[in-house]
Symmetry: C2
Subunit: 468 residues, 2 copies
Amino acid sequence: MAFRKITPQDISQFSNMLGDRYVLTDAEQLERCSHDETEDLRHMPEVVLQPGTVEEVSAVMRYCNDRLIPVTPRGAGTGLSGGALPVLGGVVLDMKRFKKILKVDKENFQVTTEPGVITQELQEVLKSQGLFYPPDPASKGSCFIGGNVSENSGGPRAVKYGVVKDYVLNIEMVLPNGDVIWTGANVLKNATGYNLTQLVVGSEGTLGVITKIVLRLIPAVTHDLLMLVPFYSATDACKAVNDIFLAGYTPSALEFMERDALEWSMRYIQSAGIDLPPEIQAHLLIEVDGNRLEQLFEDMEAISAIMQRYKTGEILFADSHEQKQMLWALRRKVGEAVKSNSVYKEEDTVVPRALLPRLLETVKRVGQEYGFHSVCYGHAGDGNLHVNIIKANMSDEDWQNKLPQAIRVLFREVVAMGGTLSGEHGIGFVQKSYMDIAFNDIQLGIMKKIKDVFDPKGILNPAKIFVN
Amino acid sequence: MAFRKITPQDISQFSNMLGDRYVLTDAEQLERCSHDETEDLRHMPEVVLQPGTVEEVSAVMRYCNDRLIPVTPRGAGTGLSGGALPVLGGVVLDMKRFKKILKVDKENFQVTTEPGVITQELQEVLKSQGLFYPPDPASKGSCFIGGNVSENSGGPRAVKYGVVKDYVLNIEMVLPNGDVIWTGANVLKNATGYNLTQLVVGSEGTLGVITKIVLRLIPAVTHDLLMLVPFYSATDACKAVNDIFLAGYTPSALEFMERDALEWSMRYIQSAGIDLPPEIQAHLLIEVDGNRLEQLFEDMEAISAIMQRYKTGEILFADSHEQKQMLWALRRKVGEAVKSNSVYKEEDTVVPRALLPRLLETVKRVGQEYGFHSVCYGHAGDGNLHVNIIKANMSDEDWQNKLPQAIRVLFREVVAMGGTLSGEHGIGFVQKSYMDIAFNDIQLGIMKKIKDVFDPKGILNPAKIFVN
């Protein structure tokens, strides 16, 4: 599809639709919307539009659809797969003005929100009313709930509470042609037609522009306990993960961090942090939550006993809110720390949980074969390992040409284990060239035809998920 | 699409594919496959095929797709929306030979099964290994897991554990053209391409023929407690439901039964059953489960205290396994009891939970206006009310012409409450004429185009979900 460049006349039309102040062409705004948190990628849009109502989104979409102008929706720009990058230029649809929590329905344990609400702020508003929305991506302090829905985000709590898709009941979205639809109904059970809601969750802004979201909620949980377990062997740490589940325990978080991850994070946030003896190779950060404190202590005791099956250092039990905050900050800042440390690529591998040790070994083996250093960490309880590949002193030549081959080898082994390319970051722009490893032409053909159903002209977030 | 009738030559081709004994044309088999559990509907197939392998399913589908022969997949025939009825004749694809549990992966809390396994048998095999697959439709003793996936079935435990869609990780299916695909990966988190798995779950056998299913599992739960609470007012019973959740409790079952439902069920299974004083208008059947018995007793005490806010009779706490079995049998047999009692239609209304009292009042009001008697029961904790409309002495004329208008009025009010047509039974054949109440032409258009992506010739389970 041959897209059209934006003309001065388009700009004045956009101004008529939204008002001048919401049609941005200054260098600063274009630059701001030229990147998200994916590597060091930059792609300039031609204009940034900031609609404030569903009607305005509809008008913009209809206009661009009629004129073959590409539109890339943007949340908070915290994505890690380049989903918000306007790689073909055109319009960035900046959804930041959709920041109202429209209705907290305590009676029904539901909330209706606009997509531009910061996830953590939504969680805090709900918590103040005794309601709990669990999914908590590392970027929760800055990411938008709309972006979370678009990526089907996870986070540490997914291991017990599930990911975003497990909480989305209904979505209002604007189709590329400007039509506005709801995808489902505000009910806990729904066997009425095809599940458009679940199709849209995780579709990375390629099927429609999300303008309202209805989430199911659960009662707030009153207590949590946190411990940090140091291991002499990273493989042991991965093995210990599955033992916890086999013993019948489901922690509310079960995070793995290689030594480097924790070390870099400590340096990054200049936290006195924790004691890190040279022999420690990895840590598990384990949280349990519930409403009965005495029981959580029992669980923690049982889990730490399970950890003793392996060679561990001294287990740190967080004994204050501040210490919990510090430990979580260390975990949540790993990504930023690595980013600040070196040019890198982040992979979001996921395998059946029991295969985590094999996944880690595979990452290191492929790294040795192809000469890259990696820092691994992530949501071990879900079998979801973030692999940060560090450029360090790898040549630009190898970084450009040899590394993609290495990643293909890694993904092939991941898929052979029953795993797949991304657990929570999405495919977006930077992983699409690997989709042929996870899916054959028949599967990809079906997905592309589904894209065509929603976006026949292909103007919405083009060049994402699929190579062509 | 003009479908073709089956010829003797087709039959001999099918025999070459499957072997004579699996190509059935005798009256008894055709009759068996002419109905499911939906009302008293009968639609004769031209032939019943019983493939035993995915290759055989593929061969049959390709053959029928090339020749425009309609194919209706069939599980155990326990459906309540007519999804398995071969309303246009042609082939019934009887999946009963797909009855192997292929792999119980205890390490990863997953099971890979064929679709023709009886749900309860699957659950028992898993339980014997300490694993738990919660969804338990009333028909669990006879329904197939494949049918459950096709309908996105629920059951009493959905209120705590979710429905079938919350457990399906990956599906192997045969497309109408004979191609075989997997829909996803065997992982707990997946942000890799569109969620074909969730699109197929609940698609009622209209997108492909399911041949393998990968389910996630959870650790088996060791204890449960059950109580039956009699109410003087059915509306009070519905109100009490939400109080339980607002107090922070999530029962593992929370079932509502109108007096008639329980009475008819007691008569049907000739159970000495329970004492049913004339002033009792409805019951709540409430179960809590977990691994700490003392805690469950605390929960039951707290919940029964909440019940005391209303005018209730004496609460029955099941004090033996036998009594639990008896109470559950009473609940599970309501549908069959009503069926045996009169010609009836069953609606599967679902609304946001707190609106359950209003839903019940609406059902009764519409019943009075249009002169039908209804017996209501169902999964109150999910806002999912089964409305059995009894023909009794309604004239055939009114049953045929007036009742559908009444149902439209009821569904319009349900949708106006934020609810929808079906919580767990699906749309299938008998509810499709009401789809325009839940969805507009744009929504229906998208769904139909998605159907076309998978089944361009429309041979697979035709005349279901959509009117045209």
